[in-house]
Symmetry: C2
Subunit: 621 residues, 2 copies
C-alpha cells in the first residue's frame, strides 16, 4: 500500500473507532486515534498473519498492550475483513466478542490486555518461544501506550528482551503525551524513552507517528535489526484528526460528544480492505508435534528417606520434560531452592532463567502457552505474589499455565515472615478457573506435577502447586493415584469423634496428633486434602456426616485457604457440620520450622490440645 492508501486506512481506523465507541456510548476513541497510523502501516505493510488460521505456526503476533484502544484493534479486524460492520457496532454490548478490552474470545487475540504494562512482558514470552522453541521467523509486535512505560514490569521485560537478544520483537510506543488524568512524566520527550531503552540494550527509532512513510521506514528498520529488540518510539497526538478532542486533556475514555461531525471531519466512513500479508510457510515445532514418550516419574520408597516436596517437584518436572517436548520450565533466579534446577540440568534448551523478576516470569509463561507450550514457572510462594496481577490477567486470557510456589508457610523456619508463603492459597483460590494443589509427600507431588500438564490449555487454566522446603516422610507408595479434585483418607474408624483435614506439612502433624489422640482414647479421622481447589466435596461431606466436626489445619493465614475451601463445601444451604479452623494467626519471627508450627498452633501438640478442648466442651461426641 502506498502512502496515500495507508493514510486513508489510518483515517478509516479512526472513523471506525469513533463509530464503535459512539454505538457503545463508552470506550476509548481518542487513545485509538493516536495510534491509528501506526496500526495502518503495521496492518498494511508489515504484519504477516493468516486470519483464517490464527494458529498458523508462521504467524506474526500482535499484542495490543494498550488494551483500552480496543476500538482500534477491532477496526483493524474490520479492515482485514474478518469482522463486518455490524459486528463492529456491537462493541461493548452484552454477548459481543468485542469486549471493552480485548480477550481471547476473539480467535486473533492471544492474550487479554487492559492491565497496562503487561503486553511487553508477555510479548517477550512469545518472542522467546519463537527464538528458542519454535525457531520460526515470526515477529512479535507489541503496541504500547506511553503511560504504561512507568510500570516496572515493562523494564523487567526490556531487560529480559535485550539479554536474550530478541530481535524478533518490536515494541511500538504510541507517545500521545496524555495519560488518563493528564500529561505523562515525559510528555513528548521521545528521547527520554529512547535513552532508557537504549541503555537497556535496545535499538531505538524515534519517529513522527502520523507520518506513514516514516513509520514504514522505521518498521523496516526494526525488521532488519539483528541481535537486539527494537523500539519504535512514535510521537502522536491523542484524538488525532478531530479538533474538539485532539491533544486535549479530559478526553480520555469517553465517546466523542458529536460523533457525526467528528466522522465528517475525518473525511467520512471508508471501506478500505487490506490484504494482510501471509506468513512464511513454517512447520510446527517438533517439540509440539512429537509423540510423547513414556513418563518415568521418580519413585520414592514409602517409609524410606524423608524427601522435600520441592525436590520431588524438580525431579518430576525433569522426568516430565523427558517424556514431553512441549514442557518448558522457568524460574526467578531461585532454581536451586525451587529445585527447577533439576529440569534445567536435563533440558537446558527448554529452561528459561528469568532472574529476580516475577512479573516477567509469569508473563513469559503466559506468552509461551499461546504457542502451545506447557510452562512450569517457579519461585518462592511468597514472591509469586509479586506477579499477582499477571496471574489475574492470565485467567482473563484463558491461559494454561503452571506455577509452583516453594517455601510455603511458617514451616520454612529461620528465614522469617518475608520468605513465607502465607497468603498464596487465598491468592490462587480467588483466581477464576484456577486449580490449587498442595501435596504432603514426594510421590504425591510427582503425580500432581504430571497431572498439571493434562488437558488442553484452556481447560487447564492457572494451576498452582505449593511445595515445602523441608524433608517430610514419604507416606504414599509410588503407584498411588492422586486425581485433581481428590483427597486421601488416612485414618478412619467407626468411633471417630471428628475429622482432621490437612494438606502439606500439616498432614504429618495431623497424623502424629491422631496417633497421640488414639492413645488417649480419642479416635479421629484424618483427610489429606491435597486438592485445595477443586475440593473433594464428597469426601468432605462424608467426613462431616460420619464425624460431625471438621478441624482444618493449615500452614497459611486463616483467610482464604484450606479452612475456606472446606467451608465452601457447605455454602449451598445444606446443613453444615461444626467447623474449626487452625491456621497461622500470628506474625511469625525467626525460629526452627518445628518451633514455628508450634507457635502458630498447628503442630501435633496444638492439634491434640484443640481436639481435647473440643471434647471437654462436649462439642464433639
Amino acid at each position: 500500500m502506498d502512502r496515500e492508501q495507508l493514510s486513508e486506512l489510518g483515517q478509516q481506523l479512526r472513523v471506525d473507532a469513533v463509530r464503535a465507541a459512539d454505538a457503545a456510548q463508552s470506550g476509548h476513541p481518542t487513545s485509538s486515534m493516536s495510534a491509528a497510523d501506526l496500526a495502518a502501516v503495521l496492518l498494511g505493510g508489515h504484519l504477516r498473519y493468516d486470519f483464517d488460521q490464527p494458529g498458523h505456526p508462521g504467524n506474526d503476533r500482535l499484542i495490543l498492550s494498550k488494551g483500552h484502544a480496543s476500538p482500534l484493534l477491532y477496526a483493524m479486524y474490520r479492515a482485514a475483513g474478518v469482522i463486518d460492520d455490524e459486528e463492529l457496532l456491537t462493541y461493548r454490548r452484552r454477548g459481543s466478542r468485542l469486549e471493552g478490552h480485548p480477550t481471547p474470545r476473539l480467535p486473533w487475540v492471544d492474550v487479554a490486555t487492559g492491565s497496562l504494562g503487561q503486553g511487553l512482558p508477555v510479548g517477550v514470552g512469545v518472542a522467546l518461544a519463537g527464538k528458542r522453541l519454535d525457531r520460526a521467523p515470526y515477529r512479535v509486535w507489541v503496541l504500547s501506550g506511553d503511560s504504561e512505560m512507568a510500570e516496572g514490569s515493562v523494564w523487567e521485560a526490556a531487560e529480559h528482551a535485550a539479554h536474550e537478544h530478541l530481535d524478533n520483537l518490536t515494541l511500538v510506543i504510541d507517545v500521545n503525551r496524555l495519560g488518563q488524568r493528564g500529561p505523562t512524566r515525559h510528555e513528548w520527550d521521545l528521547g527520554a524513552y529512547s535513552r532508557r531503552l537504549h541503555a537497556f540494550g535496545w535499538h531505538t527509532i524515534e519517529v513522527d507517528g502520523h507520518d506513514v512513510e516514516a513509520v514504514n521506514t522505521a518498521f523496516d528498520e526494526a525488521r532488519s535489526t539483528t541481535g537486539r529488540p527494537t523500539a519504535v518510539i512514535a510521537r502522536t497526538r491523542k484524538g488525532r484528526g478531530v479538533a474538539a478532542v485532539e491533544d486535549k486533556e479530559g478526553m480520555h475514555g469517553k465517546p466523542l460528544k458529536d460523533a457525526e461531525s467528528a466522522i465528517q471531519e475525518l473525511g467520512g466512513p471508508r471501506f478500505v480492505q487490506v490484504e494482510v500479508a501471509k506468513p512464511a510457510a513454517v512447520r510446527a515445532s517438533d517439540l509440539l508435534t512429537a509423540r510423547p514418550g513414556e513418563l518415568r516419574l521418580p519413585r520414592y520408597e514409602k517409609g524410606g528417606d524423608e524427601v522435600a516436596t520441592r525436590n520431588a517437584y524438580g525431579e518430576a518436572l525433569a522426568a516430565l520434560g523427558s517424556a514431553r517436548g512441549d514442557v518448558v520450565a522457568l524460574d526467578g533466579e531461585v532454581s536451586d531452592s525451587t529445585r527447577s534446577q533439576f529440569f534445567a540440568k536435563e533440558h537446558p534448551d527448554r529452561f528459561f532463567e528469568c532472574y529476580i523478576a516475577e512479573q516477567q516470569l509469569v508473563a513469559a509463561a503466559v506468552g509461551m502457552q499461546t504457542r502451545g507450550y506447557v510452562p512450569y514457572a517457579s519461585s518462592f510462594a511468597a514472591f509469586l505474589s509479586r506477579a499477582h496481577d499477571f496471574v489475574r490477567m492470565a485467567a482473563v486470557s484463558r491461559a494454561g499455565i503452571n506455577l509452583a510456589g516453594s517455601h510455603a508457610g511458617v514451616a520454612i523456619g529461620e528465614d522469617g515472615p518475608s520468605q513465607m508463603g502465607l497468603e498464596d492459597l487465598a491468592l490462587f483460590r480467588a483466581v477464576h478457573g484456577s486449580t490449587v494443589l498442595y501435596p504432603c509427600d514426594a510421590n504425591q507431588t510427582a503425580r500432581l506435577v504430571a497431572a498439571m500438564a493434562e488437558g488442553d490449555a484452556r481447560s487447564r487454566g492457572v494451576r498452582y502447586l505449593r511445595t515445602s522446603r523441608s524433608a517430610m516422610p514419604v507416606i504414599y507408595g509410588p503407584d498411588e493415584e492422586f486425581p485433581v479434585g481428590g483427597s486421601k483418607l488416612l485414618r478412619s474408624g467407626d468411633d471417630d469423634v471428628l475429622t482432621l483435614i490437612a494438606a502439606g506439612v500439616t498432614v504429618h502433624e495431623a497424623l502424629r496428633a491422631a496417633d497421640l489422640l488414639a492413645r488417649d482414647g480419642v479416635p479421629v479421622r484424618v483427610v489429606d486434602l491435597y486438592s485445595v481447589k477443586p475440593v473433594d466435596e464428597p469426601a468432605v461431606q462424608e467426613a462431616a456426616e460420619r464425624t460431625g466436626c471438621l478441624v482444618t489445619v493449615e500452614d497459611h493465614h486463616p483467610e482464604g485457604g484450606l479452612g475456606d475451601a472446606v467451608a465452601e463445601v457447605f455454602s449451598d444451604g445444606r446443613p453444615a457440620p461444626r467447623l474449626v479452623r487452625l491456621a497461622v494467626g500470628n506474625m511469625p519471627g525467626s525460629a526452627t520450622g518445628q518451633e514455628q508450627l508450634g507457635a502458630a498452633g498447628i503442630d501435633a501438640d496444638s492439634i491434640v490440645a484443640a481436639v481435647q478442648l473440643l471434647a471437654e466442651k462436649v462439642l464433639v461426641r
Copy 2:
C-alpha cells in the same frame, strides 16, 4: 575514622556476620561480607543517626534492601554499641529480635526487607517525605544487592526518584556478581547499571567497594550532589576475605563451614566501637505536630441524589486533609477515577502522583508512614493486585497504610474483566492484621474514610477500602455511625426465613430483593456487612440464631470474600447455620453494570430466585 580504622571496622563486620550465622547455623554471611566495607564507611563516616532516639526527626534512614544480609546490619548495630555480643549471637533464634531478615521489632528498622526490590521504592517514599513534607535535611541510604536490580519495582523507583529530584536519596549497590543460584545478568559490568540509572536521570558513581577511601569519596559526592539522586555502584566480592567462599558459586545463604578458621583469616574478632554522627537539630514537621482541626465530612442527603462511593471517598479524604495535616494522598495516575483528585485539588502539597506504577505507589505510602504520616493510596482495586507483595511486606513492616481500590466488581460494566476488582477482598483479607471495608453508601464511605486514620500506626496495619464506580442510593443519614467491626441491620422481622448478608453494591440488590420477597410473603432479614474484616461476629451470630440461614451476596469471586468472612464466624466449633454463597462464578465479558450483576447471579432477581429455590427445597422455614 581514617582508612585503617574503616578497614578494621569492615573486617569486624565480616567477622561478626560470620559469627552470627555460625551461631545460628543459618543465614547469609557471604552476602554480608561483600557489603561490609560499604557498611563500615557509611556507619563510620556518613550516617547521621541517634540510636537513642530512632524517632529523631533529623535522623538519616538506612534501608537494607538486601535484607538477607541481616548479619551485616546486626554487626553494625553491635559496632554502634546498641546491641551487645550476646544478643548478636541470638541471631535467628526463637524470640530474638535479630530475625533472619530485618523487621521493625528492632527500633532502628523502619521497614521489613527480605523480598528483594522493595528497599529503593520504600526509600523513595521516605525521601519524598523528607523533601516535600518534613522539609528536613536527612538523607535516605538504601543498600541494595545487584540481583534485585532485575525487579521492575526498582525501575519504578528509579524513575520516580529522578522525576522528583530526590537528591536526599542515595542508592548503594553491592555488585558482588553472584546471585542466589549463580552469576547475575551483568556480573561485574558496573557500567550496565550506571548506564541504565543515568538514562533514568540519576547521578552515578562507580567504585571499588572494598577501597574504603574511594567509597568514602563516593559517599561525599553523593551527599553533595543536588537536583538528582545518586547511585554508588560498588564492585565487590561475595564472601570477601575468606578464600574458601570468596567469589565462589554455591556459597549463598549458608553459614561458613569452618567458621573458626574463617574468623582467623579475617584477623580475628575486633571490638571497634563507632561513634555514629548525630543528626542535625531539626524540629518535627508542623504537619505532624499541629493540632487537628474540626473534621467536616461531606454530608449526603438520605434518599437524595445517588452518589458513587468513590466520589464520597474523594470528598471525605479532602475534608480529612483539611482537618489533619498528617494525612497525605497518593494515586497511580487514575485520580480522576478514584476521585483522589478532590484531595489533590485542595491539598496539592500533600498529594503524590505516582503514575502507573502501583508497586511504587504502595511503597511510597509505606515509606511515608515511617515518618508519621497517614497515607491514603488509591488505584483501581484490580490494579492494586500489582502491588500485592508490597502489601504483604507492609504487614511484616507493621506499617499503617490506607489503600482504596475503586471500580470493584462486575458492577463497573462495559470495561470488562481486566478492570474489575474480583479478587481484592481475598487478597486483602489474607494479609495479617488487615482491615477490609466495603461501603454501600456515601455517608458510610465518608465515615469509614475518617475511621481509617484513627489509632496509632502499628494498630492500624493495612487498611483497605473498596469503592464502587457507579452512583448508588444514599440509604444512611450523615450522622449515622459505622464503627470498624460493625454492621447494619437494614431489614428484620420476627418471621424472617433467612438473612441476606451483603456489602457495597449488593446491599442495594439485597434490599430490592427483600422488598420483592416481602411482597410474595417471604420476609427476610438484610444485613449490611460493611466491615468485612474484622467481621461483626455478634451480628452474624444473631442473624444465624434468628433465621437459621445466611445468604451472602457479593460482587467478588466466591473464594476469600464476604462468604468466607461469614463462614469464618462459625469456625470455632459452634453449630453453624445453613450458609449459601452468591458470588461471581463466571468470567464476565462486556455489558452494562446491571446486566453484569444479573449474569453473575447477584442482582435482586437472582437473589429472589435463590431464596425461592431454598424455600421450595424447604431448606428454610
